[in-house]
Assembly symmetry: C2
Homo-oligomer: 220 residues x 2
């Protein structure tokens, strides 16, 4: 197909496709005539993966290029591939920015990881994210909310096992990476949005709004 058709089918503008070609994210088409190139289904699939990495995952072009190179290098083990996709989305926080409270929180998170028997890279970006929230809760005097850490960890583990089963069932490495990137970003939106709704339900049950009531919308 021509670049115009590739744009139509992928819903990515011709200018953006040309940018990806220049940046080496998308392989060149086969020259079919002067100033014309032919693109295939393979280009369409690659374009979808690029959009997942950059558009959904918010990755800079250089990091997207690394992930794509790993997808193309067939000798990379699937676990490394998925880890790399995840690492690209949630890179570690600069350790220089840490204060003593943050280091203490980091140690607590590593202990939580050990307690749950998780096989996790101690440098993983998720550890910093959790440590940041732990030290913020403590600074705000909300220590009772920290009792929920294991509850969150169990919920996260239950979700992660099912997510990975769906992604692994895809078999194709590019589709798996696509699933990890999109699933990490949009799965987070699903989980956090559903948590807001579940909290509303828990509040209605616990504090006794009548069934069918307005679910806690502010009066008036």
């Amino acid at each position: 197909m021509r670049i115009g058709e590739l744009s139509r089918q992928s819903q990515v503008s011709v200018a953006t496709i040309k940018y990806y070609l220049r940046e080496g994210l998308l392989p060149a088409g086969v020259a079919s005539a002067a100033n014309q190139a032919d693109y295939t289904e393979e280009h369409l699939r690659r374009l979808r993966l690029i959009r997942a990495l950059i558009g959904v995952g918010g990755l800079p072009v250089a990091r997207a290029r690394e992930v794509l190179a790993a997808v193309d290098a067939r000798e990379v083990a699937p676990h490394h591939l998925l880890g790399m996709a995840q690492y690209a989305i949630a890179p570690p926080v600069d350790a220089a920015a840490e204060d003593p409270d943050r280091r203490r929180a980091r140690a607590e998170v590593l202990e939580l990881v050990r307690r749950h028997g998780w096989q996790v890279d101690p440098e993983a970006g998720g550890i910093d994210r959790v440590a940041e929230a732990v030290s913020a809760l403590r600074a705000l005097g909300q220590d009772d909310l920290l009792e929920l850490l294991d509850t969150y960890a169990e919920a996260a583990a239950a979700v992660a096992r099912r997510e990975l089963a769906v992604v692994v069932a895809r078999r194709d490495p590019a589709a798996m990476v696509e699933g990890v990137v999109i699933g990490t970003v949009l799965g987070e939106a699903l989980l956090t949005g559903l948590r807001l709704l579940a909290e509303q339900d828990a509040s209605a049950r616990r504090l006794g709004a009548a069934p069918g009531a307005d679910g806690g919308k502010p009066p008036g």
Copy 2:
């Protein structure tokens, strides 16, 4: 205490405290001398709640004022109070922005809510958040990831029940609202950060990295 001491203890600058006084978020101190006012522990507690609403929850001043008014109006039922705090953090999305795919996704989310027996306001902001992610997943051809919706809902429900138990145990309405606001925002960071770690663990288990291996960090 003087305003300088209030600033020191709350770690909120004098300029910001004066701004909250002008905006009516913080009640005036008791005049102790010309151009001097005295502040109490009550002011300190209120200041902490204001920081939770504006600093952590990201609420505009006008919305923070509404939540504070509800906290002060002791006749408001706790469920309405918590609902109002949550509503302030996650307001409904403008319905005019919806397209047919989004309306379809909204209907699916409402069906999910019905299936789980949740008592939820159909206008709740969480519904839009979930519907947005559902229609984005479908547009990206990731329909298999949508099979996880019930898994996410169950995890969210388990977490929400425990969160509410902790917040309700506080009894004081202002502390409860503070807990809902801070817990909603920072609990989300805890849950999503732990999910990243749990995914890394699930990947290591399922795809067979050796225990103690680097957990999926990109090679080299």
